[in-house]
């Protein structure tokens, strides 16, 4: 079963490659050149390679965030808002402290709490009043994307900046770069460690067992004394906190300040990252890397040859379609194979 799942992930990736190659050939004036930059570009030098790894970091966090919610049978569609708003609030808080360690600590704690709160509220509404959590998380997330925009545009805008952004954080607050001249930072290693940590927790902790049981059959879980509401609240809060941490680490590692629109849809692509890894936390850093690779390839191709960078979004769309299809296909197989 596991080998079958891995095989279907490989097929997904192969089809995505094929489709993107075909599209590039169609839209580009110099197809050969474009294809080369698109596929080989990210590996052609340390700078491109490091940047690709760095751009997978947000997806690792949002992918894990989606995965944590999935693994308790819940959906968090507000990752984008939690990622964006959490990072902005964290940055604003951190700007008030001069000590580097304190500032960094405050940034992480404040952003994680803000993200957790944004997903906790819809989860609470679901538990108490059976609000649909898909709509709840999405709406709250979207609202706070705009609240974040307002903060950057209005009260916390750096007057000297040409566009909506906060002041820069001190150089010593930022995360250590590990592959200069690229923007790869230690956040990448933290992300990978978190992947394995969550894999371990999911398999070996009592909480992980409870998550799986609630996902498998909530009614069964309730009858056997598992507090289903509590598990849902924990899963959703954790999910929101992880998404916001992803945003904060991206700010600390790459941007150095919160810039309007810096999230680039990372929240939604996180859902794809989780599905592509068949919701296995230990594989998420790989699926995030794959999605980041497509993105970097498109960016490099547009830099070197005149290709629209939106092509990467197109390819990501194809991948998302395929992993969702695969998700439902597996479901059907399971149903067909039951006996009694």
């Amino acid at each position: 079963m596991r080998s079958l799942r891995i095989l279907s992930s490989i097929v997904t990736v192969a089809v995505a490659f094929g489709a993107s190659a075909a599209i590039l050939c169609l839209v580009s004036p110099e197809p050969r050149e474009t294809l080369w930059w698109f596929f080989v570009g990210p590996f052609s030098n340390v700078y491109f390679f490091g940047n690709m790894l760095a751009s997978s970091v947000p997806l690792i966090f949002t992918g894990l965030a989606a995965c944590v919610a999935f693994s308790a049978g819940a959906f968090n569609l507000g990752l984008e808002g939690q990622y964006y708003f959490g990072a902005i609030v964290g940055t604003i808080a951190a700007l008030n402290f001069s000590n580097a360690t304190v500032s960094r600590f405050v940034a992480l704690v404040v952003s994680a709490s803000a993200g957790a709160l944004l997903s906790f509220v819809p989860a609470l509404l679901k538990v108490k009043f059976s609000f649909n959590e898909l709509i709840g998380t999405y709406m709250v997330g979207q609202i706070f994307v705009y609240v974040g925009d307002y903060l950057l545009n209005g009260p916390f805008r750096d007057p000297s900046a040409a566009f909506s952004a906060t002041r820069y954080l001190n150089e010593n607050v930022r995360l250590t770069r590990i592959l200069p001249p690229s923007s790869l930072h230690v956040g990448y290693l933290i992300g990978i460690m978190l992947c394995f940590l969550f894999y371990f927790l999911y398999r070996y902790s009592t909480l992980g067992y409870e998550f799986r049981t609630v996902r498998g059959n909530p009614r069964f879980a309730k009858i056997h004394g598992i507090n289903v509401d509590k598990i849902l609240l924990i899963a959703m809060s954790l999910s929101g906190a992880l998404a916001a941490l992803g945003g904060m680490i991206d700010v600390l590692g790459v941007h150095g300040r919160a810039v309007k629109g810096f999230s680039h849809g990372s929240g939604f692509i996180g859902i794809a990252a989780s599905l592509l890894a068949s919701n296995d936390p230990s594989l998420i850093f790989l699926s995030a890397l794959f999605l980041a690779y497509l993105d970097s390839g498109a960016e490099i191709a547009s830099l070197m040859v005149q290709t629209p960078p939106e092509i990467a979004r197109f390819v990501q769309g194809i991948v998302l379609c395929m992993v969702t299809a695969q998700f439902f296909l597996e479901r059907r197989e399971l149903d067909a194979d039951s006996t009694a």
Binding site: S205, T206, R212, F220, K222, H224, G225, T339, A340
Partner: protein
């Protein structure tokens, strides 16, 4: 002239993957038009697999299926239906939220100019519903009894012209009276030229109500004979176990009071589900809660375990008030619960056997330490449990959904009884089980008397008499009568007492 069988099965076999369970080894069967055929066998003998193959839900690995003497292959249930073969599932496949009418026509709605025509629908079902003496059409299905739901499924089958009707344990959820009516119905279908095949565990009924009996054992058909030429003893022996009825031991009552329920009332919306129920239960007692339908006996168990919050009244267990405790706290005090719906409530069908087996102990020492599970200990625990309760499987890591119905039942009972609870709350613990396991459950309950007590809710009178010392008769949420076991001899008495709304 010999009649051509309507449906014939030749040497069909089927192995499930990835478990490698050989569900069917060699199955031969022939069904004639205008006959009722009973399919008997122990749990896990392959009965359900066989009917699912005939209905096109599963594909056989080999062998032939002939309809009117012509070989056919069913790739899906639609194919089977086009040959007039319909299956009525054990766990009925209806949409609870829709009305009877909508359910009957689900997927085949009669149209007039693109709009669903209710008038046409009503005309179409009139005959069939009259034949089945079904009156309701606009009621939502969730409000109906199991017997009515079953009739709706049969009506569906007849409406698209079924000639072969397959019923998977049609009597599992019916009381005696409803059962009687069902068999009457099957006879009338037979007279109109249909072939009927039903699965059952009850040898008596099979012989009384069918023209022909086929017995399956470990995936093979081992006997196929006209009912009138067989005796119960013969059939039971071919099924592969000794048909002995349990000898009942009068229990030694006199232990201390374990459970005290006083003035318990439960309202759901405007409906009074339980009306001022009071009783006590002492160590060593097994008490039956009997009602003909859903008369509050199951809700009482759900209230005691903590799934439903009573409107008033008290529950005291081991001298401690538990009325407001959580389910977890109640279970920790020594209460075990077997819910009515095994597939939806008692099992996590998406999990492994192991995950299902340990749900009551996983957070207790020594199985959990500092929030982490010790899977090797849990595996050993599961292994011991399954061994004691004789659940057959390849590995505890395998998905639970590939176990047969009987093994799933055993697994559920094993999980609840293995921790030696002081109070067992069980809904229909022996429903759908063959005699062998029924006896086995009864033995386990007898053993339980030495350390605890049990409440058994059911609408099966025989089950009540087999398992319980005393029977509380429920009717519309009220405890009407208490009967001692010594005064009860035949199930019919119990049913007539329960039906008497005095």
């Amino acid at each position: 002239m010999t009649r051509q069988p309507l449906l014939q099965v030749l040497n069909v076999h089927k192995t499930f993957h990835p478990s490698g369970v050989r569900a069917l080894r060699s199955v031969n069967l022939s069904l004639n038009a205008g006959t009722v055929h009973a399919l008997l066998g122990a749990n896990g003998a392959g009965k359900t697999t066989l009917v699912r193959i005939l209905a096109g839900e599963l594909q056989p690995d080999g062998g032939q299926i002939l309809v009117d003497g012509i070989p056919v292959t069913f790739r899906n249930p639609r194919d089977a239906r086009s040959y007039g073969i319909a299956l009525v599932h054990q766990n009925l496949a209806l949409v609870d939220e829709l009305t009877v009418l909508e359910n009957v026509f689900l997927g085949r709605e009669p149209l007039s100019l693109f709009f669903v025509s209710k008038r046409k629908a009503r005309q179409k079902i009139k005959d069939v519903f009259e034949r089945l003496s079904l009156k309701v059409t606009d009621e939502r299905v969730e409000n109906l009894s199991m017997a009515e739901k079953q009739k709706i499924e049969i009506a569906r089958a007849l409406l698209f012209g079924a000639r072969v009707l397959l019923l998977d344990e049609p009597t599992a959820y019916l009381n005696e009276e409803e059962e009687e009516k069902l068999f009457e119905l099957l006879r009338s279908l037979k007279n109109s030229g249909c072939a009927v095949l039903f699965i059952t565990h009850d040898v008596d009924k099979a012989l009384n109500f069918s023209d022909r009996v086929t017995v399956m054992r470990e995936g093979q058909t081992v006997l196929s004979e006209e009912s009138c030429r067989l005796t119960v003893q013969q059939v039971v022996e071919t099924m592969g176990f000794q048909g002995r009825k349990r000898t009942f031991q009068v229990p030694t009552v006199g232990g201390e009071t374990l459970l005290e329920v006083s003035n318990l009332t439960l309202n759901l919306g405007k409906k009074i589900v339980l009306d001022r129920i009071s009783f006590t239960l002492r160590r060593g007692e097994v008490i039956g809660l009997f009602g003909l339908g859903n008369d509050g006996q199951y809700d009482l168990l759900e209230t005691i375990v903590g799934l439903k919050k009573p409107s008033s009244g008290r529950i005291v267990f081991k001298n401690q008030e538990i009325t407001h405790l959580s389910i977890y706290e109640r279970r920790r005090l020594g209460i075990a619960y077997v819910p009515e719906d095994r597939a939806k409530e008692a099992l996590n069908l998406n999990g492994s056997v192991l995950e299902n087996a340990v749900v009551n102990v996983y957070r207790k020492a020594p199985y959990a330490r500092l929030g982490f599970l010790r899977w090797s200990l849990l595996e050993q625990y599961t292994f011991d449990m399954l061994k004691e309760f004789e659940v057959k499987l390849v590995s505890v890591r395998q998905p639970v959904r590939i176990l047969s119905g009987g093994n799933l039942q055993r697994l559920v009972l094993a999980r609840e009884l293995f921790q030696k609870p002081e109070l067992l709350l069980a809904c229909k613990p022996t429903s759908g089980l063959d005699i062998q396991i029924q006896n086995y459950v009864a033995e386990k309950l007898d053993l339980m008397r030495s350390y605890g007590c049990a409440l058994i809710a059911s609408n099966d009178a025989e089950e009540m008499l087999n398992l319980c010392d005393r029977v509380f008769i429920f009717s519309k949420g009220r405890l009407r009568r208490v009967l001692d076991r010594e005064k009860l001899f035949r199930p019919e008495e119990l049913i007539s007492l329960a039906g008497d709304k005095g």
